[in-house]
Symmetry: C2
């Protein structure tokens, strides 16, 4: 085993392809349904808001899809990202476990989000689109798409969930520096936003509301497409560079993970790290190869995987998106204003939901106080200041390591540190001064929410 | 020439030594003088506030000093840092020049400052010191030392210049996450601070004032030493990893710089990049080898190199430090509250001052509006959001590239991008909204300031 703590790859080792699990699923995904007709969605149904190349990726049966050269040129500005062994954290925990983390915070936008933002901007630009509209929670996605549009000479409009817009002014300013226009959502700029504000003038917003606004913006402007930072198959596909790199780096470290962990909001950083390992699990069924447990970690305040229903639901509040089968808390659920704004989504990636349903992935939920406790411990041992979202994965990794100590056995843990927390320091301040509070899941009758007569 | 835009080094290529220019200076430095006796300073004079190993480095005549293993273990968390060729910026400028930048913003604290913070904490810990006191301007240095102390299990007290404390609350919070206590300077915690507040209750502070507070804190507590983030020989020595790596990386790129550029406050990132090239210039006098021009870029609001006097002066307002011969605006000069807080220092590294005086280094000054203009252009082409301090170097690099275009000739430009601007977004916001103003150097009779009867 290597004595190193950092595992780097040369530019030539950046994976040349994205890997697609769709052709290897033991059961196919339930088809998305048209929001009006309830018929299975056709590629043409998505054409008003997505370019055809991304639509093809959404339904692709190819095992590998080449990363275009123009996308790779930009990936290379910060990729391959480093894999670290958290030796100082292990020492502080006094655990026999080995903890590895793949750090995606070295991108200019500070998270894994540019992996798909760059690809999406590229395909839209090729399709002649002039502007992209999107939503953002914590601002990680919005800043990534602002950067991507700027690099490809496109305009960008971001609907930013109100609670994050207020908590994280620096994220909004960063998007402005990269040339984007940013509206707090719900906004007065769309019918969807105006309807929410009419009923709830003080709405903190949610990803579900912001998605409605961005989709409406794209659908009502010919030169504008919509871009989503998570949930969809093609988004998770672009993120598989994370897991492919991590596998090469774990091989350099001479170890195989026993457990693979990612934080979970819509599923993009989680899927990015986990899907290449899911392929190992699926292959292991045939050849008996060793494959890791895979754990998705979500906030207790918004527990779609652990408390939601596996059912057809809309991706947004205004029911503009297709119906997809996923773990959902109901499309009208507005989560409490926790600091991990990127995890405040009522639903979940249909692909990850399907794999949870099949038992290939486990869900786990934490309240935010133990998450921040782990975040501070991580910052004080490993140096890097983590994002609150990513810190859900740290919490779970620490608990896996403490369990290994309890059981007195070795364990190799791999998690995705999806971004830095440079714009989340107000949350840390609240935590350190004892002002941060925990939110339980308020609970609700999801069946009743899904019994909405239009569903 | 390589077609690559990024040049990485393996861990094994991180330089194993710091390089020292003192033995190769064509004329020796003027000695520092004791603040009370005016006799040349002895190592023992510095022992109350520095550990002996750092004092020895301050006066060392060794050409190379080994980097301790414990320091190297931490360096490796983010070093070697990347060297980039700014191809997108070159394209936007339509210049025949090639622009390279060494990016130090990948450290956990976001700048080059940990290169010396880690080393200083290490030597102080070895000397049995329990706590370090320091000053910080923009917060880059304070956060680096907070991190370093945390990693070595030491306490850290930071006196943060008031104007930056107010402009950059996130920097202060970051230091708190790493366990440091932070006071706005001038503070009520020291005699020096109280004296300033008595005369100027609304003082915006300055590095000169904050240094007085930190030195007083260290001098009046047995278990506490003082730590300085710039100016001194041993600080610049630790930073020479930057220039040594850059030289290896420029060789990978197959180019030699015609001009080497760094922003200049006290001299630490500048010296880190420039000193290995200064050695080339000194060698070139003997063997006729090609060596680059070297340019230090400072703010017009605080122009020590371009408008200061080369004279003996104190490093701080309260005259607690030794007298050193340097370019100075007078130790009682309080610069306007520009956003590049890290460059608001009345003096300059004696070593860099000496080299400027000898004609080996040129000084250049800019007001902040053209600096921010270059910063935004850089963020929109290269992706990385630069610190306002570092953006002084970008401005000068852009002007060198535009001059090359004007003259229709090739030029290879290398600059240090010393840190990211994630905590400076309020300044960007002011710039983008047209609210940022330029400050001219107010001008003053420096001879009169230095004619202070105690000097």
């Amino acid at each position: 085993m290597s004595e190193h703590s950092k595992f780097l790859l040369a530019d030539s080792q950046i994976p040349p392809v994205w890997v697609n699990v769709l052709p290897d699923l033991p059961e196919p995904l339930a088809p998305p349904l048209h929001p009006a007709t309830r018929a299975p969605l056709t590629p043409q149904d998505l054409a008003p808001i997505f370019p055809m190349e991304l639509i093809q990726q959404e339904f692709s049966t190819q095992r590998e899809i080449d990363i275009p050269g123009e996308v790779m040129d930009i990936y290379r500005l910060w990729r391959a990202t480093p894999l670290y062994r958290a030796r100082q954290l292990e020492k502080a925990l006094d655990t026999p476990a080995h903890i590895y983390y793949k750090y995606e915070g070295t991108s200019p936008a500070g998270s894994h989000k540019p992996n798909t933002a760059i690809a999406q901007a590229y395909y839209n630009k090729r399709a002649g689109i002039r502007r992209l509209a999107t939503e953002t929670g914590a601002g990680q996605w919005g800043s990534a798409l602002s950067l991507a549009c700027q690099l490809f000479g496109m305009e960008c409009t971001v609907y930013m969930v109100r609670v994050s817009y207020d908590q994280k002014p620096y994220r909004r300013m960063m998007m402005n520096v990269w040339g984007a226009e940013v509206f707090a959502s719900p906004s007065q700029h769309t019918n969807s936003g105006r309807a929410v504000l009419a009923a709830h003038p003080d709405s903190p917003g949610s990803l579900g509301i912001a998605i409605s606004e961005a989709v409406e913006d794209a659908a009502t402007h010919d030169d504008t497409n919509y871009s989503l930072g998570s949930v969809l198959n093609h988004v998770l596909l672009h993120q598989t560079v994370i897991g492919q790199e991590a596998k090469l780096q774990m091989a350099m470290a001479g170890e195989e993970p026993d457990v693979v962990i990612g934080c979970f909001g819509g599923g993009s950083n989680f899927g990015g790290l986990a899907l290449p390992y899911v392929l190992d699990r699926l292959a292991a069924r045939k050849d008996g190869r060793k494959a890791p447990r895979i754990v998705a970690v979500e906030p207790t305040a918004c527990p779609s995987l652990t408390r939601g229903s596996f059912a057809y639901d809309f991706g947004d509040l205004a029911k503009l998106t297709p119906l997809v089968k996923m773990y959902t808390l109901g499309h009208d659920f507005v989560p409490p204003g926790i600091h991990a704004g990127g995890l405040r989504y009522h639903g979940a990636s249909p692909l990850i939901s399907h794999l949870v349903h099949l038992g290939e992935i486990d869900g786990k939920a934490y309240t935010q106080l133990p998450v921040f406790q782990a975040a501070v411990q991580f910052a004080r041992t490993e140096g890097i200041l983590p994002a609150p979202e990513s810190s859900h994965a740290i919490r779970a990794a620490v608990d896996e390591a403490l369990a290994a100590k309890e059981e007195g056995r070795h364990k190799t843990i791999l998690f995705c540190l999806s971004g830095h927390g440079h714009f989340d320091l107000a949350a840390y301040e609240n935590y350190l001064s004892g002002k941060l509070q925990d939110y339980a899941y308020p609970g609700r009758n999801i069946d009743e929410a899904l019994a909405d007569p239009t569903l």
